[in-house]
């Protein structure tokens, strides 16, 4: 299997946490994993994106037109990285406004910020929330809900229950959205 994922957001949103979760998932299934981070000089609030390559790759960088999936924790950061997607690839993004029409990709957007503002989940869980939305909307996503849950427990047992709750909240929301 070969699968390339870009996760985009800004500093402080927990992009790297998701990379670690997916690395654990890959490791648990004995799949090869390569990842890298792109961020500039700012510690918080600057653009951050991570490239993840699962399967037989030798270099962690994802080139334009190659990614199977783009997860956007922020709409602008997702739009900024769209060029990395392959034709027909999936983009799953937190976004207030719909994405432009006519993109050669499969687009799934959800206003997660509004939900966090309404108190449905803590904003610190935005990363896990978007992972949940991804699980619900992307059929070829390489990992199952159970595999993600296992990884969430491995990475931090103390907050695993909260994270898994956010995950399921997102799954439910995204399924509703699909109906």
């Amino acid at each position: 299997m070969k699968y390339q994922i870009v996760i985009a957001g800004f500093g402080g949103q927990g992009v790297v946490f998701l990379v670690k979760v997916l690395a654990l998932c890959a490791g648990n299934r004995d799949l090869k994993f390569l990842g890298t981070e792109n961020h500039g000089m700012s510690q918080r609030g600057g653009a951050v994106s991570c490239d993840i390559k699962i399967g037989d790759f030798s270099n962690p960088v994802i080139d334009r037109g190659q990614a199977d999936l783009l997860i956007g924790l922020d709409a602008n950061e997702a739009l900024r990285n769209l060029q990395l997607l392959k034709e027909g690839g999936h983009v799953v993004s937190n976004a207030q406004d719909p994405f432009p029409e006519g993109l050669p990709f499969q687009v799934h957007t959800i206003d997660a910020n509004a939900q966090a503002l309404a108190g449905e989940f803590p904003i610190q869980g935005l990363n896990v929330f978007m992972l949940g939305v991804t699980l619900a909307t992307v059929p070829d996503f390489p990992f199952s809900i159970e595999e993600i849950e296992t990884a969430l427990r491995q990475i931090n047992a103390k907050v695993a229950d909260q994270n898994i709750e956010v995950l399921h909240h997102a799954l439910a929301d995204a399924r509703e959205m699909g109906e």
């Binding site: 670690k20 961020h39 037109g65």
Partner: protein, 612 residues
């Protein structure tokens, strides 16, 4: 044992598994996590390891190098520009050599992601005449760390490990040894004055001859151990031979697979010293040779043959900036290896306007407020603002910085600027980390020569930009910046950051008066005590938890807050009024006073818990 590791963590484990017992370094992206991880392993496994941040790279290098002279296995870590600072020590150490293995880890940053230059440390190794290893993945980095320490001990020379950012900050599931037993060597300095204290001319000349023989022997070893087996295994798949090193190899392998290009590919693990004659002999079987490496043409210059060799020098590859597979595709096209379409072309045919997100200080960072106050008091038209390297460099966005050169240069440039343009007030800024690193000698210079400028030391008690490493003063309070300055015979004016902006402004008004008074001579030094909002140990003592909201009635869209103050949560909404992103606001309260000319920033009573 299999483990998902970042390249820097893999290097740290490699050091431990090579029984390296002293690690000394200075933080710098992308190298910083190496020493941090050694410290973590040390405390987790309770190992008798020395792993400490030095005051700068030269000091770090020398501490570790001395350990290796005394027979221990040691390492020094730094980023590529840090090696400039350590280079004086390196050049001589390359002549003298070492007894215990000594690994110099210099991390490069092709693409200028977080560095002032794109310099190639492999070229530095060549300049110093020491061997250099170029890992292409975290796994390589782990293996080569261990190998490099052995190599150094075997040939009694410093060895450089040169990972690039895409190795340091890559994550991979790697295979490493389980063993956590540690076999440190006894440190025993054996007096050998002709060697350890060799002097010019005869002593060093003699060592120079030895160093030349050594590097020749290592080149031969490079051939026998690494390159010959690889050349021998080639199948003659095409008339183009590709030599690739580090990430260049990883990029090339993937590009060849994805483009279905067949060619002979040789991975060069040790880009210097190269057995040039042997390599050139192997070129005879090919019509063209392509060298893929980054960021400088290090291998290419060594094996150069203008009739055959292509790469960065003849622009077959990109000459600057990080390599992409697209560059390799282009090179394949130029050399006739590929004729297909550009699979790395974007799939989106129209462009989408996305507002840029330029680098910025964190929401609630006190650097922002201090710069705001400085600019209020020392007007731009009448001042020059030399600055330095650190988070505060990001105050560029506020227009609060005029010059940036390299660490420590703010102070010496303040001297030079004050001499060259006495009609302006020179207000220089430097972080506490940078002051300790290289700000002290230029301040002594300014005091003794009586240069007239103001130096503001932004003391947040951490080296924030590289991930919050400790500063000397944080570790040991006897190292007090104020007393260091006073030791130069001048006063150090103290201010404590306040989220009430008028207090910062009033302080600088007072400073201006003193500086302009008849009695004042020479440099005037200010130390501002402040904090870093990501510093969990200290921030709660400083952040008042005063969150801001904007009164839309009062906002007149004057742009003041988004140009000279610039806190990231502030942005225009659809109605053309400034709105504060509640998820980003850090509750520092800094914008509640003075920043807005119409006082539109109000305390969010509910979120701030009714605080006033």
């Amino acid at each position: 044992m299999k483990e998902t590791l970042m390249g820097n963590d893999a290097i740290a484990w490699g050091l431990i598994h090579a029984d390296v017992e002293m690690v000394s370094g200075y933080p710098g992206t992308p190298s910083s996590e190496i020493l941090g991880m050694v410290q973590k392993i040390k405390s987790k496994l309770k190992l008798p390891v020395y792993a400490e941040w030095a005051t700068n790279e030269k000091v770090g290098f020398e501490v570790a190098y001395a350990g290796a002279i005394a027979g221990k296995r040691t390492a020094a870590t730094m980023k590529q520009v840090g090696l400039n600072v350590a280079s004086d020590a390196l050049m001589s150490a390359a002549y003298i050599g070492n007894r215990g293995g000594f690994l110099l880890i210099a991390a490069d940053d092709p693409g200028f992601h977080s560095s002032q230059t794109e310099q190639d440390s492999r070229v530095f190794a060549k300049f110093a005449r020491i061997p250099v290893l170029d890992p292409s993945t975290p796994q390589d980095a782990y293996d080569m760390t261990r190998y490099g320490v052995e190599l150094s001990e075997r040939f009694e020379t410093p060895v450089m490990l040169r990972p690039v950012m895409r190795v340091c900050h890559a994550r991979e599931i790697i295979e490493m040894e389980d063993a956590t037993d540690f076999h440190p060597k006894e440190g025993k300095f054996v007096r050998n004055i002709p060697r350890w204290a060799a002097v010019p001319r005869d002593g060093r000349l003699q060592q120079g001859y030895e160093a030349l023989d050594r590097i020749e022997a290592i080149a031969a070893y490079n051939w026998a151990e690494h390159l010959k087996p690889r050349f021998d295994a080639l199948e003659g798949k095409s008339d183009v031979l590709i030599l690739a090193s580090g990430t260049g190899y990883a990029f090339t392998r993937e590009a060849m697979e994805e483009l279905e290009v067949e060619a002979d590919l040789v991975k060069v693990e040790m880009p210097y010293p190269l057995p040039v004659e042997e390599i050139r002999k192997r070129f005879e079987a090919y019509e063209k040779v392509l060298v893929v490496e980054e960021p400088y043409p290090c291998i290419e210059e060594q094996v150069m043959d203008p009739a055959k060799v292509h790469g960065r020098l003849d622009k077959t590859m990109n000459r600057i900036d990080e390599m992409k597979k697209e560059h390799i595709l282009e090179a394949f096209k130029k050399l006739g290896l590929y004729e297909g379409k550009n699979i790395y072309a974007p799939k989106l045919t129209f462009s989408i306007d996305v507002p840029p997100r330029p680098p910025a200080l964190c929401p609630g960072c006190p650097h922002r407020d201090i710069y705001y106050a400085i600019m209020k008091v020392f007007k731009k038209s009448k001042s020059i603002y030399p600055s330095d390297i650190g988070c505060y460099t990001l105050a560029l966005a506020q227009g609060a910085i005029d010059t940036i050169l390299c660490m420590g240069a703010s102070v010496s440039m303040a001297s030079g600027l004050s001499l060259a343009d006495p009609s302006k007030t020179v207000v220089a800024t430097i972080g506490d980390g940078t002051f300790f690193h290289s700000g002290i000698p230029p301040l002594i210079n300014a005091v003794y020569q009586g240069h007239r400028f103001i130096l503001v030391i932004l003391d947040n008690s951490t080296i924030a930009m590289t991930g919050r490493q400790v500063t000397p003063e944080r570790f040991n309070q006897t190292l007090d910046i104020g007393r260091i300055v006073e030791g130069m015979g001048i006063k150090c004016y103290e201010h404590t950051y306040s989220h009430e902006m008028h207090k910062n402004i009033d302080f600088f008004k007072g400073i201006k008066k003193i500086f302009e008074s008849e009695e004042h001579q020479g440099p005037l030094v200010v130390r501002v005590r402040q904090f870093c909002i990501l510093d969990n140990e200290r921030k709660d003592d400083w952040v008042p938890g005063e969150y801001a909201v904007v009164d839309p009635e009062l906002c007149v869209a004057c742009d003041q807050c988004t140009t000279v103050y610039k806190c990231p949560p502030m942005a225009y909404n659809a109605e053309g009024k400034i709105e504060i992103d509640p998820f980003l606001c850090a509750g520092c309260g800094g914008c509640l006073e003075i920043v807005c000319p119409t006082d539109a920033f109000k305390l969010d009573e509910e979120k701030s818990g009714g605080k006033q």
